[in-house]
Symmetry: C2
Subunit: 123 residues, 2 copies
């Protein structure tokens, strides 16, 4: 039995193309496509363009959410892939986004969410 | 000068009231109020009720996002408070949500996002 309810992969993309990560329409399309690449299911998405620059947005998925915040002035994008279930392949989403952002590299950290031992101790 | 672009507080709420964390309208209201408690600015929010149970949702804020996923069957709610800037008080949001969920306890972990040393190394 799985010991955790969910998994969260935090990804930092460096040296991204400024024009791409400042384009809210493009980012919304790419994040939705990343959900499909990961074999997850889109429910709905909401994205926002900041002035003078930067994009924030989230795709709510059947398996939790994908979120992004971009800092075009730093060529930097920060992405969260929060998922549950065993059928999701986050790596495919990450590699797809790296390519689409023209990022020179990424760093990722994986965390578990919802420790069932802890949850059951507290009920 | 700040060394990071943003901060992310991951919070796990245990032993929550099942009825509350399974009520999508209530959760959307509480998450939006939590944004205000933290002194942050709501941009837009999107929430979804799963069948047979559970709620997922995100409030996009001027300072990044607040997200939630609930597992009523485990009396458990998992919340992310992703913020930038120095004017946000996440603790006020956390204590407000703990009270509103009737949670017996919470655990939180704070991470930094967007390491400027790393970003500047890669430009």
């Amino acid at each position: 039995m799985n010991k955790f309810l969910a998994k969260q992969v935090l990804v930092e993309f460096y040296n991204c193309s400024k024009d791409i990560i400042d384009d809210v329409n493009k980012i919304e399309i790419l994040m939705n496509k990343a959900v499909l690449k990961a074999n997850a299911t889109i429910i709905k998405s909401t994205f926002h363009k900041f002035a003078p620059q930067g994009v924030s947005g989230v795709v709510v998925i059947a398996e939790s959410h994908f979120a992004i915040h971009t800092w075009p002035e730093h060529n930097f994008a920060s992405v969260d892939l929060y998922t549950c279930g065993t059928t999701i392949d986050e790596n495919k989403a990450i590699l797809y986004l790296k390519e689409q952002f023209n990022a020179s590299k990424f760093q990722s950290k994986t965390l578990n969410r919802g420790n069932l031992l802890e949850i059951n101790k507290n009920i």
